[in-house]
Symmetry: C2
Subunit: 152 residues, 2 copies
DNA sequence: CTATAAGTCTAGTAAGTCAATAGGGTAAAT
DNA sequence: ATTTACCCTATTGACTTACTAGACTTATAG
């Protein structure tokens, strides 16, 4: 399960992707739009900034904005920054491998083989999906809904 | 990330799958073979028993054994029992759906669409892999290694 | 029938994580 | 100079994790 923190981060980035190129967005504005506790969101956005995903501007007219265009920020990057490795077990993580303390022979560990498949499947999805893709999918759903509405 | 508890459960079940049909196996024997703290393993096996995955026999000659054959226990079942839902977010879980408190419109939540894909991919792997499959894959690896060994 | 082997069950606990909240500090625009 | 808004540190309460301790119950062998 993803933590609330990660979920909030993704929702905030979704907003900032939508507003990309239109100047900074206030923390309070993002908090309001997504129903996120403002002070908590502050910490999250700061962390995303320190990780190079966001930039900010202080003072009046300030706020946060994406450091790179939405099509070059993947969901996988964000999840890794907030949550740590995607892998279900440290011994199948590519980005931060660690052997299991109790494991006698890693190469013949059946659990590991299965969890490696899970890791690969997860990474394939999250690393190939960008914030731009997320927006596109949302638009498609909304458009579909409106189409349905007219046809009734 | 799976907890140690879940990892230990899977390793213990792997042992019990290998010994299936040959009578009960001692907690201490499993603990020794897999390097798991015996008292902790005790709690885990008890829980697996209460969930109907294991059976036990008390007294001398007792121990734990699988309640059903290895090919009808899936890794997904075990992970759900020990860890809870496979879904990265409660709003995409099939077995224990819950809406996100802060979400204004679930149907057009982009994060949700992506995480649903992750859930489906994970479930597809874990629910279609049984303990018997795990053993088979381990055997394949070991056989491959021996083949390689002779060819040197 | 009783010793002993083995699982059952209840507590407890130290350490860590989560989900915030509080309350100033600092930079930048007007 | 003042206001706006991000920056940073600390704390808190609830919960989870990973165990450990110890008494209890049941079953089998002799």
């Amino acid at each position: 399960m993803l933590s609330n923190k990660t979920k909030y981060a993704l929702k905030a980035l979704q907003v900032l992707a939508k507003e990309y190129g239109q100047g900074p967005v206030l923390i309070s504005e993002i908090a309001r739009r997504e129903n996120i506790p403002a002070k908590f969101l502050e910490l999250i956005l700061l962390e995303l900034k320190n990780q190079g995903i966001l930039q900010s501007k202080k003072g009046k007219g300030g706020g946060y904005f994406l450091a790179r265009p939405p099509q070059s920020v993947s969901v996988g990057q964000v999840v890794r920054v907030m949550e740590g490795p995607l892998a279900p077990l440290p011994c199948v993580s590519r980005t931060s491998y660690m052997r299991c303390r109790e494991c006698r022979d890693e190469r013949s560990c059946g659990i590991r083989l299965v969890m490696k498949d899970v890791r690969d499947a997860t990474a394939k999805i999250l690393d190939s999906t960008t914030l731009a893709d997320v927006l596109k999918r949302v638009e498609a759903v909304v458009a579909g809904r409106e189409g349905l509405h007219y046809s009734i």
